[in-house]
């Protein structure tokens, strides 16, 4: 009897171990090991900050190359807990790119602000590895672990400026809100587990298909709670309250990272997770309605609150809520075109957002004050090149052709219309027109207003470093080139299915 038992255990063990395919996790492991390495390098007394910046870029570069290795065929490993495919690879590239851009724009800013703690880059790498786990996961537990690795790193990063009370406030707020979100998510996962007996996506899918989704209230509640938890991370209305304060308080490079990668990862997870219920018949109405209302609320409320903001960072915070609302409309349309459109939107969003925060970081390096729109008065006369780059980012965010922001919105709303959600498309397109107003307010201040004499804000003092310039110019190049010729990129994304 016991003989047979041990035999089955050992065969089970062997099969489980045989699914441990470390190759699938190569980028994740490289980045997290890199994080540990950077942590140890931080112990060096001198030049650790500089060495770490360099090492972080190298590690992220190697990781993104490694993602090529797994190929385009979907492969599962680790007893079904990890699924690596083209979809997750694209996200890995997005995270690595975001990480590299963040390093580029961090260095000078952190040094100027005297917050050049070398551990910052280590935390960044940990955050990136958390992101990677979130989208590679095909099990809710792995997702949760990834999310926590990400969140814990981000609390510290947001509050890293210990000389600045607002940064501390940002860290604390982000911490509290993330804990809330995690609680939602865990509660949801528990419900899902209770209903289906598994946390694995494929098992959840089988359960949902065999016992029609709607007839299992526990699964229903669980999925809604998971959605709610993620809505915190995405900062979809009504879970958006933390966004402006955190954006405003956190150091700018951190805000740049915070406003892009975690949101994209949360969407990546949602796309992957909700794809399991794609074929559920009939698709639960309530779920659809909730996603649609999240999208509509995010677009409208984000826009309305952005209209009258005088603080630039708060304005961008609210506008990012709107942008995530647009992606939410793609998410609501549940089609393959919507996925490729959303992927394109993410790529575009990274270039626009990182770029614009890079410009703001350069501007605010030397100025301790809050950046109000008034501070930009007459910038076109004092710093014409900078003003011009800034303007391109703003126009792209506003979705004016032929920049990438327009192409991205075009693809998203095309997908929405294709799915027959006309009302949603109309609301989205109208909102994108409204949003032009507040982006233009900045342009008006830069170009149409005379410079202020004693604003206490010296635009002339702005000097940019090489790394920042590299980040900004590559973002600009991407915005213009991909805006004019989006074909190859959207083609590439179209081949990606879930």
């Amino acid at each position: 009897m016991t003989e047979i038992m041990t035999d089955t255990i050992s065969t089970n063990l062997q099969t489980i171990i045989s699914t441990m395919r470390l190759g699938l996790l190569a980028p994740h492991l490289i980045v997290s090991m890199g994080g540990i390495l950077l942590m140890l390098v931080s112990l060096l007394k001198k030049a650790a900050f500089k060495i770490n910046a360099f090492l972080a870029i190298v590690v992220l570069g190697i990781a993104s190359v490694c993602a090529l290795n797994t190929g385009s065929d979907p492969q599962t490993g680790f007893n079904g807990m990890i699924k690596s495919d083209m979809f997750s690879n694209v996200f890995i590239w997005i995270y690595c790119a975001t990480g590299i851009f963040t390093v580029l724009i961090s260095h000078k800013y952190m040094e100027r602000r005297k917050i050049n703690v070398p551990e910052y880059y280590s935390l960044l790498l940990f955050a990136v590895s958390g992101l990677m786990f979130m989208t590679s996961a095909s099990d809710l537990m792995i997702l949760f672990v990834g999310l926590e690795i990400l969140s814990v790193s981000l609390f510290v990063m947001a509050g890293i400026d210990i000389h600045d009370l607002r940064s501390t406030e940002a860290g604390l707020k982000y911490f509290l809100m993330s804990v809330f979100a995690s609680a939602f998510l865990l509660f949801g996962i528990a419900f899902v587990y209770g209903a289906t007996g598994s946390t694995e996506y494929s098992a959840i899918k089988d359960f949902a298909l065999s016992n029609s989704f709607g007839r299992s209230p526990y699964l229903y509640a669980g999925v809604l709670l998971v959605l709610g938890g993620m809505a915190f991370k995405i900062s979809a209305v009504p879970f958006h309250m933390w966004t402006p304060d955190v954006y405003q308080g956190a150091p700018l490079p951190v805000t740049a990272f915070l406003s892009t990668a975690p949101k994209i990862a949360s969407f990546g997870f949602l796309f992957k997770f909700m794809a399991q219920f794609q074929n559920v018949q009939p698709y639960p109405d309530l779920l659809e309605d909730i996603v649609i209302s999240l999208a509509v609320l995010s677009m409208i409320v984000g826009n309305l609150l952005a209209l009258n903001q005088e603080d630039l960072k708060r304005m961008l915070a609210y506008s990012s809520i709107t942008h995530m609302g647009y992606v939410m409309t793609a998410f609501a349309s549940r089609s393959d075109t919507a996925i490729s459109a959303a992927l394109f939107y993410f790529a575009a969003y990274i270039f626009m957002n990182i770029g614009i925060f890079a410009v703001i970081a350069v501007i605010s390096e030397n100025n301790d004050k809050n950046l109000t729109l008034e501070n930009f008065r007459g910038m076109a006369q004092k710093k014409p090149a900078m003003a011009f780059l800034f303007m391109i980012f703003l126009f792209s965010l506003a979705g004016i052709p032929p920049l990438i922001g327009f192409a991205a919105k075009f693809f998203v709303f095309s997908a929405v219309i294709q799915s027959g959600l006309y009302g949603l498309a109309v609301i989205g397109i109208l909102n994108s027109a409204v949003s032009a107003y507040y982006y233009l307010r900045v342009v008006i201040n830069m170009y149409l207003k005379a410079p202020e004499q004693d604003s206490g804000f010296d635009l002339n003092a702005i000097k940019y470093g090489m790394a920042e310039m590299l980040a900004i110019t590559s973002c600009i190049a991407a915005i213009i080139i991909l805006g004019l010729q989006p074909t190859s990129l959207i083609h590439f994304f179209e081949k990606i299915a879930l």
Partner: protein
Amino acid sequence: MDNHILSAITFFPLIGAVLILLMPSKSFKLMRWTSVVFTGIPLLLSVRLYQLFSPASTGMNQAELYQFVEKYPWISTFHINYYLGVDGLSVTMVILSALISFIGVFASFNIQKAVKGYFALYLLLATAMTGVFLSLDFFLFYVFWEVMLLPMYFLIGIWGGPRREYAAIKFFLYTLFGSVFMLLVMLVFYFSANTFSLVELSSIMISKDYPGYLNVSVIRNAAWILLFIGFAIKIPVFPFHTWLPDAHVEAPTAISVILAGVLLKMGTYGILRISYPLLPEETMKYAPYALGFLGVVNIVYGAFVAMAQNDLKKLIAYSSISHMGYVMLGMASLNVEGMNGAIFQMFNHGIITSMLFILVGVIYDRAHHRDIHALGGLIQQMPRYASFTAFAFFAGLGLPGLSGFISEALVFLGAFKVYSILTIIAASGIILTAAYLLWAYMRVFFGKLHEQHREFPDINAIEVISILPVAILILLLGVYPAPYLNVVEPTMQKMVSIFSDSSGLAFNLINQMSHYLFRG
């Protein structure tokens, strides 16, 4: 060159813009003359285009009837092409935009502030305008349409008058909202018919074999109305017109010229190029109200408001609103005479209003204000200027022998057949136009000359160069309009033919309505 003549016309100004950006920012003269060259070449090319153009190219729903076609795939996932071509409708508009861009450069010679930026944006604007008139792909059309918005916004916002910020953002937001509606309709068309090509779309829609969502009549109706709002903002049609006077008053002279001369035509051109062939049934249903009735409102309302203006530029701005009403009325008639008149009026309004704005600019440069009451007796001081202005004003009020008369007459001829009462009301607009123009002329040029106006120099050579070609054209077309109408007529005939089979119903309705209205 002849194979790519359309691309050359479109993108030559853009090359000029890039060159100007590379120049040292103090070499004003070089920039000015570069702009002259890079708008001059497209003008010559468009004249060449006119020579080569055969009036038999009636375009519309037949791809082979477009000339100088250039078609290359652009975003293949969405079947978006770089697709240019001309038919009788667009060829004259291309000439108009090339001509107005060219003379606008001369009107910009007195710009002193940030000259480099000004001319770069000006040339970008010229490219975008031409692109709108040449695109046969809905998406490309939309992109050019939007690209046009930005330079215009900056040209008003930076080089404009005291309230330029307000005017610029008002212009921007109005137009953006309009184009957003257009985007929506564009997507509905694409996802129904799976193409952005206006040629293919019109052949599908004319065959009444509606694909996809367009099979639903509510969607077609909504599409027409949304498109109309988008274009109506640009024309501008009565309730959407408030941005125009603000923009004109604040804009520098050359930009007013472009705005009135070319940009307003894009609204009516868009309706003719997109709404008419793509949604013929709905056009018949709505044209009497949206174009006919609102057109007459435009004519009368614009004229009355113009009469009350003290600012010379505002007066011309409102006269533009009034004159665009004739275009709409002509289009609403859906017969060859009316449509010919409408297109001809588009062209004539373009050249006449440009001349008027340049002339207002001349006096503004000297007096630094445009207040009609503060001027007077200028005929003694500036006789040549007074005679040019008299010519332009007479052209504006439709004096026989000048081109405006022919187009207005054609519009009335066409419109009277279908909307007799509306046309009679509209005809009163002629009297009102004569009234406000002559009254303004009287106050500016006759009477007592103010002391401080004594040293005003008369109109100079550069200013004459910028209005002379237009003046000659007004006179020539006024006497002999055949070169214009011959080119346009076949296309218009073809366009009217799609409406002929079931016409009558909608028009009877409006006739009856006006009948009841006016019988009491």
